[in-house]
Amino acid sequence: MKKAFGRLLAVVLAIFMIAGAVTTVSAVSPTDSYTYWTNVGTQRKAVYSKPMYDLDTVIDVTEFGLQSLTKITSMCKDENDNIYILDANSRIIVLDSEFNLVKEIGLINGTITYKEAKGIYYNDGIIYVCNTTGANIYMINIDGELVDTITLPDSILIPDGFQFKPTRITRDSSGYIYVLSEGCFYGALLYAPDRTFLGFFGSNTVGATVASVFENISNRLFPNTEKHANSAKKLPYSFVDITVDKEGFVYTCNGYTNLSTRLLKEQIRKLSPGAGKNLLKTEVTFTDTGVIHDNFYGFYRQDICDIDVDDYGFIYALESKYDKVFIYDSNCRVVTIFGGGMETGNQQGTFGQSSAMVAQKNGEKILIADATTNYITVFSINDFGKKVKELDYLTIEGDYDLVKEGWLEVLSEDANSQLAYSGIANAYLEEEDYKTALEYAKLGYDRGTYAVAFEYVRKDFISDNFTWIFLILVVVVIGAIAFMFITNKKKIVFIKNKALNLMLTTAIHPSNNFTDIKEKNLGSIPLCFLLLVLYYVVTVMRTISGGFLFSKYDPTSFNSIIVMVRSVGLVVIWIISNWLVCTLLGGKGKLKEIMIVTCYSLLPLIFEGIIYIVLSNVLLPVEASFLSILKVIALIYFGFLLVIGMLKIHDYGMGKFLWTTFLTVLGMAIIVFLIIMLIILVQQFGAFVATLITEISTI
């Protein structure tokens, strides 16, 4: 059989050596390539990058003397990289690895149609055709003869009313068959090699957020018809494509996701055998998040319609709304993104409706089918892309000694390559040049590598300067003890300003000091403002001056004005709200006293902030638990001081204090709401005035 196929291939090759597809002379591209930098700030960043794929050719089957395709629904490849193209009009076109026509397969056995079939798959000499509307899968040979048929199994595991509409099929190296059925949210149908139905495999789950949990509780407590109807929508997304890598791991992808999905995660999964758990990083967002395409008629989210995986673990995803190809390495880092058209593409290399993809020759060529033009566009990897993928694979495999020069070359061609910075950092780490590793890791925001290099640098620093460090520590400790001893014994008062002294000792003697504030009026408003300023500065500095390993500071997205609103603003609103509430509820505290108590209570948070800023530049993330504990202690201490202070100045019992605190928080919410309303009102008034000015100026 294989020989016959080979002979046929040779003959056809000879015939069609000259016939071919449209060749393009491409030096510029109608779309841009980009990638995403992660770990820069709180959100990943789209960054222009050097293209790794060039437009190679556009295949039009009419060039082979065939009738134009009706609608390409699926494509697959075999072990020789021959391409199988499924047309919605009961037709399969087979091309060889160089895109010459091998043969056209029409009706199976000359009579059986498979119109609107949505999936094609080749394995071990058999072509599987997912006859979606016919509810079966035809297994045919290369001559178009029916070998077998897969149908819905008669099993108690199949739910009642289950409609079998096969759209994709794949088979792992052990012979297990996975079938996707349209609209099936139970996962893939899994068949044993002997075709016994084993059950469903790896279904998606419905993600829950705090809001959704509350919503569910509310819906159950107060049900109505509309809520019931809405609840039916919250089914897990069904898989739209499935593929198997060389090690037998199954990869799936979700398709269209609706607007209600706030966070897009796990759109692509690598499923563990048996349990079907996702083995890829779950925090990774694939494709472009939060994108909306109005398309004049409606709104869309991204829609991954096809995935492929090569022998090196690179994942290829075709996103059909923006018509882009996303390539990820096995660590889910973006390698490159290219393509485009946004459903309006009329240039080669752009698409009107990308519908299927094949990553041929381990991703050296990527074929994209367009269901509107029925052309297949081939993108070829360029030398730069080859280099990046090879180096990335070696880096992931840990062959750091082989990659340094290569990554440096990559950087010379594309200074925006985050993978390169990370790769170089790892290479220097391997060479034990930790300082250079630190430098590159920082440039590429690779905190993992930075942490390892930093540990060595810190260790080296300590071992080189141990004597000095030890001596300084001893001197400081002895000095501190001596200082405390002498000041206690001789009752020396260094801070003679009573208000300042009171403020500084509040943390040690809260009860006494707050009593003094209430009864002796010893609190100081200027010191309150000073504390507020300090609190604000420390809050800002912990982000902008915190250690690289702890702070994801990005000047483009960080705004200290917002931090001020969130820190000082909250304190001020607390003070005002508490004063309003307590005035109504018989509290004895004055506005000034409330402010003094609140601001003096901030002292632990300020000290914690200063310690954090210093230690975050010295510690490693694995040692961060200390900082977390410190933060919790500071917060508890702050709360403790505030409670004591409030009790003292308002002269409340604990019950009334809790009640007024609850009302204060409620009052804060109302104040925030009113402020937001006011801002909106001012904005709208501003817009109205601007419109008025525009109208007047254009008369």
């Binding site: 002379v25 222009y48 990058s49 052309y375 000047p555 960080f558």
Partner: protein, 751 residues
Amino acid sequence: MLKRILCSLICLFLLFSLVGCGDSKFTPAQKAFDSEIKSSVPSSDQVIIQNDKYSLEYDSETASVRLVEISTGTKWEMCPTPEGEPELDEYGLPKIRNGFPQSALEVEYMDVNIGGGGNGFTTTYDSVLDYGRIVYKPTENGVTIEYYFDDEEFMIPVDYVLNDDYLSISIDTTRIQENKKRITAIGIAPFLSSVPNDAEDSYLFIPSGSGALIDNKSISAQGITYNTFVYGEDLSKEKRFDATNETAVRMPVYGYKYGNKGGLAVIDNGADTVELNTISGNTRYEYSTIYPSFQLRGYTYHLAKSFNSEYYTNIYPENMIEGTLSVRFYPLSNDDANYSGMAKKYRNYLISEKGLTENTDEKAVSLNIVGGTQITKSFLGVPYKTLFAATTVKQAEEVISDISNTVDSLAVKLLGYGESGVDIGKIGGGFALGESLGSDSQLKSLSAKCSENNIDLYMDYDLVKFNTTSSGFSFFSDVVMNAGYIRADQYTINKATRYNIDTLKYRLLSPNRFEDAVSKAVSQNAKWQVNGISLDTLSMLSYSDYSDYTSTVAYNSKHGFESATEKALDQVDKNNQKFMAESANIYAALAANIITSTPISSDKGYAFFEDVPFYSMVFKGYIPMTTESINMATNDRKMILGAVESGIGLNYTLTYNWENSLIDAYTQHFYSTLYSSVKDDIVKTYIELEDYYDSIKGAKIVSNSIISSGVHCTVFDNGVTVYVNYNSSSAQTPAGEVGAIDYIILGGAAQ
């Protein structure tokens, strides 16, 4: 007192409210539709006029004309008739042909009574031949045919004039009559430049980017359509995203080849309003065709919002453009019936009509040295924008000095040296050097050194896009308005989604202010003692402006943009400065001393089957050119092959410094441009091509031909011939085997 203030405010409010009730100064320019005039038209075909070579004949069946070569009888028909026996239908009767190929005009119009947008479409075949009237008026060298569309109630007069070697087809818009339905576009002679589907040795030519050939194979009942605006999309139109990068049509020409005959059409009036339409492989029409559609009324899309939905609608101005719209059709035959012949013909047209002259001061290499870009830094957590110095003036001097040690003929553009760098800021970058980039004296020193070493130095000014009022150019009153009479806000697009970034808004300078802007740039250049001025955006962009509502004629549908730019550019020459244009539209190219980013590929429409270097073929030997930036190309080797095929110089974009805050840059100038990385490539490529450039200096391209797909041959007038293979496998040529992505040169020192 309070009462007085209150009264004053109320009075002012009433006054403003009443302003809108006054008479506007708008006066529709169109003549009223004459419904009385009788048809007067020859009942049969007849010769209208003839000269030594050609005869102009009237085609009574389609009310169009045809050109006939007297010596051979070869016909160029506006409405082609299929050759051979007519096809028969199932009843044995001749098949009824589609009406569109039998139409002299295609008209789009706006009709408020039509649902779903109000746009209608008709042709002379559908509305005039049977249901309208035709008035035939012989003129001195031709004929005027008035087409009365009775159903639609408009009349379009078309003047057909036979000249020595071309047919002129023109429409004077002031003579157009219309009633309630308003004409928005007229497609002239839609099938004059057409070829039968599947005819061998035939193609359509479109000057998209470098130029491209369009296939004529039968595809489907719809075929493939590809429409593009001459000089690019009208930027004043409102849009929310930019789906792809467009390679614009830079020359107002098109053509076709059909065996031994062909034609070149030159849009010699109103080119800036034209949308070039191509239809390829449409089996209903039986022909593939390319034709111009003059947009008589520009428009903008506008996102209309209602209570719970939003939709786009088109908004048109009341008046149509004023003036003559004309196309010259040059018949071509035998050896000239190909794109080389078209290039030659168009070059001759430019020489005789537009004053194109020879310029042999060609440059082997041009450098775009990028000054800076705005990056975000923070002070105590408060973000602020600052200019990152990608290349200071001193560093630029070092780069130029370094490269000029190897490269003899060098042109340098300083790009983004204004206050906001390459980002959009003040008009002309504030006509000042960015603070972190260097001082005026350093720039003067650089200029002097360039002059000493015979290096042309150009300072680039963005005189089109700006986002703040400065230098006498108001962000409110000197900006373009779209057809909806709304300021045409533009936005930088998101790299990933390609949607507008609402916070990065800018506007376009009104063409009325171009002269002032160029004048300021020229005088600033003189202060810096820089002898060359580069106007990248002005030379490659075009747009409408409806800010003068009393006369929607000026800059309506981009009409007049070309002349406004030409007028502004005159000042550069008058002030004895050199002018560098980037990827220039024809009007800017003709004023240029050098063109950079010369297109070497097309827009790659799906029906395009081969890119051709038409742009370079026209200008080589007349205007020095260099390629797009090789180090920023998708495939740098193919870009170099493009330079070799076109005989044009190399272009590189360079920066000196990099830091990782540049990942936030909104332009692509920074990731592959670091001088330390690119330098070796520049030197290596220059040395590879040095002899070749010497051998073709000042030479003109005689012909360019396609040996096979992706394998091209260019012949220069001094005999130097180059074979270029863009394919990834070697190819056979008459000169022998050319390796994959390689070339062979015959003749000259480089052989």
